[in-house]
Symmetry: C2
Subunit: 345 residues, 2 copies
């Protein structure tokens, strides 16, 4: 039998806390037997929520009482430093002390990113841990790496992102030999800003990834690459525009359909199909964005995450742990970061 994976879930994080994180935890342990969930947060509140459920394996849900909550508006560095008894800090410290394998939270992105780096710590050789959400495409999903808080990356960072992203897509999402591309402002060889121009040849030399060259933003939704590499400022623009453009188009289509009687009737008929399609194309549905390159796994779920997303994020952690992704990352990055090994290659 597979080893049990211990996942801390922040019961206080996100717009729907504590209801949805707690429900996600219960659903997860009911569906799979190889999971132990540790809920961090106000014990009485969490226990009140847990009372809603009867037939779940109670021995596989633990509660760790924490008295503080980090709000989204707080400055991340300060919050992590001061609120030592918050659901985020306590949860991340459990991963650091290896009392847990992973941490899932829908709380403050900034605090999770800072806390992940400061408390859990980077894997050996990793220069900058990227936040890498899965985004929907015509063909399935792609990994957009990096969308983190640290902008103005160096070429060596992007090369590491490409490697870590490849390992993730191959082992967690199950894409064989994932195609890696760098976001660029054109397909021609001479295109690119200074960062892309410097990074491009380094990626080309990289034997451990399947680098296919530049990708224009136009081709990202079509799914031309599995691992979409970019600097975090650009990644943020892509991720947010995905959200904004999707919701604006839907709003406009709905309004457009209400303009005539004919289309009003049609709208009723197409509504279920439209809803289904748009759901499949909602970036927030794939809410579990891993923060890669740490000594443990940290997963950021969307601020408005529902139980199903939390459950999926927990499953993602199990896959991550059982597939030994961190060991694989540490091995590949650690190896290639050592100058001796580099020469030998």
């Amino acid at each position: 039998m597979a080893e049990t994976v211990r996942v801390v879930v922040d019961a206080m994080g996100g717009d729907n806390a504590p209801t949805e994180p707690v429900k996600g935890a219960v659903d997860a342990v009911m569906e799979r037997s190889d999971i132990l969930v540790i809920l961090t947060g106000k014990q009485d509140v969490i226990e009140e929520e847990l009372k809603k459920y009867q037939n779940y394996p109670k021995e596989r849900i633990q509660v760790v009482n924490t008295t503080e909550v980090i709000e989204t508006a707080e400055a991340p560095v300060m919050a992590i430093r001061k609120k030592k008894d918050s659901s985020i800090v306590v949860g991340l410290n459990m991963v650091k002390k290896q009392e847990a394998d992973a941490f899932v939270s829908s709380g403050s992105t900034g605090a999770i990113l800072v806390g992940g780096q400061v408390l859990v710590g980077r894997s050996k050789g990793v220069e900058r841990p990227p936040l890498a959400p899965l985004i929907p495409t015509e063909k399935g999903v792609s990994l957009l790496i990096d969308c983190g808080a640290n902008v103005d990356a160096r070429p060596s960072h992007l090369v590491q992102f490409a490697k870590m992203g490849s390992i993730y897509m191959e082992n967690v999402v199950g894409v064989k030999n994932p195609r890696v591309a760098i976001v660029n402002n054109g397909a021609e060889e001479e295109k690119g800003n200074a960062l892309v121009k410097e990074t491009f040849p380094l990626l080309k030399e990289c034997k451990s990834i399947n680098f296919i060259g530049s990708i224009e933003a136009r081709d990202i939704p079509a799914g031309y690459a599995d691992v979409v590499v970019c600097e975090a400022f650009v990644g943020n623009v892509i991720l947010k525009l995905y959200e904004g453009l999707g919701s604006t188009l839907v709003k406009m289509l709905k309004a457009g359909m209400m303009a005539t009687t004919r289309s009003k009737v049609g709208a009723l008929l197409v509504k279920p199909a439209m809803k289904e399609t748009l759901k499949a194309f909602d970036a927030s549905e794939y809410g579990g964005a891993p923060l890669l390159g740490l000594k443990g796994l940290v997963v950021k779920t969307h601020g408005s995450a529902k139980a199903i997303e939390i459950k999926h994020a927990i499953f993602q952690c199990v896959q991550f742990k059982q597939e030994k992704i961190n060991e694989k990352i540490a091995e590949r990055i650690g190896e290639e970061a050592s100058p001796k090994e580099e020469k030998a290659e």
Copy 2:
């Protein structure tokens, strides 16, 4: 009566040349009497096209014969230098020599951008001429500035973009006191990459624009700002993602609707309304992107532009000339670029 504006139209540029550019020119002179169009390209080909039309004011369409054509795949700098008798180079030179007021082309973006700068030349004080397409939003259109070929801008460039964009939106598009925002990876004060952090306070100090702060990419389609300022690499990502995401969503919606009989029937009924809405939201429909800050006006239309877009681009040139946009830009930029004036402010 308003003065006649002389617009050169590249009859050889774009996927639909010469048919659509020629038709656009004919439509323009038939609709307004204050326009003279000069078509550059192979004379026999153009005259063959013109034969299709009878009742247009022939004295207001001239043809200038050129023997060469710059292809999209050619390296822009080389193409401009070598193909001196191409429709693009001859057209731009006419603007330079003030034999024409403006130049419209659906041809190679790179060649038009390079040619605009090298042949027509920059307005006094303008450091970098931006390419500024109009993008559709829930509320109408916004100006995305810069989407040009020169990336890695400096803060002073972005400040000039903000000023030029404001003048354009106010005088050509007719938005009073346009809201200017800078693309950022968050709304908080501490957010931004090095460029944005340096530019933000400069924009804040700028008295001649209505600066409203940062805009996240999510809020661009909602129309939170009229002038969206960013560096060209980021602008390119936004523009291309607009195109790609729109077409992917439509493709997926259509496929989704074909899944059940119920929605198939509905699809037939909503089709006209959907088409209308999506057309209004197609970035390429607003294809006339001006290259601002030059001594004359250069407008790049979409590579697949139809006659209606060419016609609109020609009208845009008329408005631009009659509203004396170049004089306004030269005045504001020239003034503020002079250190003496800056101190006096």
